[in-house]
């Protein structure tokens, strides 16, 4: 980089350091469960929109605090099966099982015969 440009940027550096790297690294390190948490939050949010359900109403259905529902909807909560079951019951949707394993390894049409 040209000296003048580098000097300008250094002279105009932010006073507090950014947390972008540590947060991006945390997300990468926890990606195996975080992606599920984010996608479950999306499903829950869409169902809530569909029903016109508030966080408070969902918390009442799950018998938990609104703060906990808020954490779930941020997609950063490593939820237990117990919590997932409560969410499913409260919303009447399937969150855990999306697809069946075809066993033995046959194509779907063969499995129906």
């Amino acid at each position: 980089m040209k000296k003048k440009t580098q000097e300008f940027l250094e002279a105009h550096k932010s006073e507090t350091p950014s947390k972008w790297r540590e947060e991006a690294e945390w997300r990468r390190d926890n990606w195996s469960w975080l992606r599920h948490s984010q996608k479950i939050a999306v499903k829950v949010l869409l169902q809530m929109k569909q029903e016109g359900l508030t966080q408070k109403a969902l918390a009442e259905r799950m018998n938990c605090t609104q703060q906990y529902v808020s954490k779930i909807l941020k997609g950063k909560e490593n939820m237990s099966l117990d919590t997932l079951s409560k969410l499913e019951d409260a919303l009447g949707i399937n969150l855990i099982y999306d697809e069946h394993v075809i066993y033995p390894n046959m194509v779907a049409e063969e499995a129906l015969v």
């Binding site: 105009h12 550096k13 972008w20 947060e23 997300r27 984010q38 999306v42």
Partner: protein
């Protein structure tokens, strides 16, 4: 505005706008990792998703965004000091073939299955291999002028470009030398 160094070798920086909690890259990743923001965005822009990408499943669109965002974050995290950033960033206008002073550039995920990625990171090119990230967007239309959120990104790029020119942040003579070497 101030600037945050993203790579220790000084080749990649990000703008921190006045009053913002962090730089444009951090705020972008936060936004793309927020299920509430993503649901609201796609519900508001569903018509563009259907008309331009022919996708009607909002669940899948958001899941794809979450996966692409993760790939984008890893891409930035894993940039090596020897990496050529000119291969990551491309001129904003597909038709632009020549260098321009403090050009507007974009980065996107390549080679994703099923549909092109709609995630964009926008930057100003300081000189070959050196960039300042100004922001980013989920681009669901052919041009940036068509929607307010992408039009705003164009304005941000122009704002940063003007700031750098006004404050003589780049060596114009050096740039002229570079142009003559092309």
């Amino acid at each position: 505005m101030t600037f945050d160094k993203i790579l220790d070798n000084n080749t990649l920086w990000a703008v921190r706008y006045d009053g913002a909690a962090d730089n444009a890259l951090k705020l972008l990743f936060d936004q793309w990792n927020d299920p509430e923001w993503l649901v609201d965005f796609f519900l508001a822009n569903m018509a563009d998703l259907e008309s331009y990408f022919k996708i009607t499943d909002i669940n899948q669109a958001i899941y794809d965004t979450i996966d692409d965002n993760q790939r984008m974050q890893c891409l930035i995290l894993d940039i090596s000091p020897e990496a050529d950033l000119d291969k990551l960033f491309r001129p904003l206008e597909n038709s632009r073939t020549s260098e321009m002073l403090l050009g507007k550039e974009k980065a996107k995920i390549k080679e994703r299955p099923q549909h092109a990625s709609w995630l964009r990171i926008y930057a100003i090119k300081l000189e070959p291999g050196c960039y300042i990230i100004t922001g980013g967007a989920i681009k669901l239309t052919r041009t940036m002028q068509e929607r307010e959120h992408t039009l705003n990104e164009l304005k941000k790029m122009e704002q940063v470009r003007n700031y750098l020119i006004r404050n003589q942040a780049i060596d114009a003579d050096g740039f002229a030398d570079y142009m003559s070497e092309l």
